[in-house]
Symmetry: C2
Subunit: 358 residues, 2 copies
DNA sequence: TTGTATGCGTTATCAT
DNA sequence: ATGATAACGCATACAA
């Protein structure tokens, strides 16, 4: 064992905690404890160990080895069903991610971003090959079979936000239908009768335009369906136009469609997201309509829309960050062995300046 | 035998590849190869192994153990210096992340999202404790000392995007100064002489408002400084106002400041980001100014601004996604032992409809 | 408070 | 094409 410091520095083999312990003249377990802090260590001993570590250029325990030993990697996978650029253009998702990362950070875990791969590349990282302790599925619209299968097979704790993965998977839910109905009732209370609806995508294909009965049959996105059902409780015959995503520009397109014909023009538009609502407002302004005098517009989400200064959107404020946080906490609980439970959040109606009586 | 809760729940410990091998009547190495595909295996043998795996509910090699053995976790850390909600409201960063995740996916690696923690919590996941193979620092403005120190100590490959981490760290750069100067020359070519500048934050404190000489001395964000220098090559005496971030609403605020006084009102405003430019346009419209007839506005980035329909921003289009991709590829190279090299990208000037002659 | 001994579950040799 | 063996680097139960 004549490994001089010189050799250690020259050879490419990195120092291990055993080397440090040897150099410090203590046992490996003592050295381990110095770094993990999981047991008291005499100051003098600690100093010797730390000095040895510094001397050897030892930067602390190898996380890979520690993971194996502990059976935990400290990493939670977040599976998105979309491309990043799509997912992260949605302020609601970002807020959720924020809450989630916060909650997980408190837990000592990091977030591994994953996409529900289409098996295209064999070498892409998947839940199957990633050292994760748990999985959070976001916007899981039934298409995430691969992800779910793997998760099941590996018996990983899993939580679903904004989606349905079967009854045995705990989910973070929202009272989408009730909140949508509340908005609709607000509008009816203001005297509106001819109302237009702008929906989020109905299904993965994200078709734009009028929603016929046939198209409605293809609806697979639960959020869209629930919010639509809520609005229709009040306005069953409203004209429905779907957007290709939750973006202002999509709202503009849908808004133009709804507002094009002055004869059939609605007096109020309910959009399924604030961004869509912002777009509808812009479309209205393009046409010279004033909001809310000529057209009432309501959204959904309660996010701060960058660039909508001047208006306060009437909307259902959802606790997006809380949802993420709840997911993180659910994961934390499951990690300690408890059973995961679904949680249902409630939106808060906010009357803004974009709706008024007819 | 004491009946601990854990034993009660776990009837059997999870099957390992050794169990599978035994059940299948092959050696562990053969079983391993069946799953890794790293060597030819007779069909019959493979089938036996797979059958055994299915029988035992074995879902494939434990990634933690595989990481240790291979010395690779397949995870690359991306360190942001901001809160997610802040970082991901910037379309440029999202595009970068997209390119990065793409490049890393091709490499078989996933992205672990990390924030440059303020050491607040001891159990927060840091680069020090996360099993990562490499690190990408985004928007590293000198504040990331902790991250860098750890990275150095652990000898992890590292790349910096939009920031400076010292000469020994490869970086992905942009010709910010030249591109800004080009925009400025474009405006001067159009006859503009009184020009206003809206900058990104000067430093971490994100103060808004007029930039005095003193405040300029506090500038630490390199991107801001470079772009400002470029503009000032052409308009050394321009009034400069800083924004608190790259958001439309911030642009509105800065725009109001610059445009408030009709007597000193500039004929053109150069914003250091497209979002800021969009805000300036909105501020101008608020004041009844037409763009570009009454005011020319130029941005920077070349992103698609959601909600700016109708205008095409004059801007410097930067290859954001390419930057991310390049970072991913640089990491890939370093992972194979090559030395990382800095890469400099070039912006492309785009003349839009928001600038016109005086 | 410190040391001893064991395995966590794999996979890379190398031999057969 | 398959098998035996030896690490990979660490953290813990338990003993001292």
């Amino acid at each position: 064992m004549s490994t001089s410091p010189e050799q250690d520095r020259e050879t490419h083999r990195r120092a291990t905690i055993a080397d440090v312990a040897r150099t410090a003249g203590v046992s490996p377990s003592t050295a381990s404890v110095v770094f993990s802090g999981k047991a008291p260590v005499a100051d003098a001993t600690r100093d010797r160990v730390l000095a040895a570590a510094a001397e050897l250029g030892y930067a602390g325990p190898d996380p890979r080895a520690a993971s194996l030993r502990r059976g935990r990697s400290g990493i939670v996978a977040v599976v998105l069903e979309e491309h990043l650029r799509t997912a992260f253009r949605d302020p609601v998702k970002i807020a959720m991610m924020d809450g989630l990362t916060d909650a997980l950070a408190a837990l000592g875990a990091g977030v591994l971003l994953l996409r529900d791969e289409s098996e295209a590349t064999d070498d892409a990282p998947t839940i199957a090959t990633a050292p994760v302790d748990a999985v959070v599925l976001i916007g899981c619209s039934g298409r995430m079979r691969t992800a779910l299968d793997v998760v099941r097979a590996r018996a990983l704790p899993v939580v679903v936000i904004e989606g349905d993965a079967g009854d045995d998977v705990p989910r973070i839910e929202l009272d989408n239908r009730e909140a949508a109905a509340q908005i609709a009732r607000h509008l009816r209370g203001l005297g509106h009768e001819r109302v237009g609806i702008v929906t989020l995508p109905l299904s993965a294909d994200r078709t734009r335009g009028d929603v016929t009965a046939e198209r409605l049959a293809t609806l697979t996105v639960e959020v869209t369906g629930e919010r639509l059902a809520g609005t229709r409780e009040v306005f069953p015959d409203a004209r429905v136009v779907s957007a290709a995503g939750s973006f202002i520009d999509e709202g503009v397109i849908a808004g133009r469609t709804l507002l094009a014909d002055p004869a059939t023009r609605p007096t109020a538009v309910v959009a399924q997201s604030d961004l869509l609502a912002a777009g509808v407002i812009r479309a209205a302004e393009e046409l010279g309509l004033r909001v809310p005098e000529d057209l009432s517009v309501a959204g959904f989400d309660g996010i701060r829309v960058d660039g909508l200064a001047g208006h306060v959107l009437t909307t259902a404020v959802q606790p997006a960050e809380e949802k993420g946080r709840a997911a993180g906490e659910a994961v934390a609980r499951m990690l300690t062995g408890e059973r995961g439970a679904s949680i249902r959040f409630t939106c808060v109606f906010r009357e803004g300046t974009t709706t008024a009586s007819v």
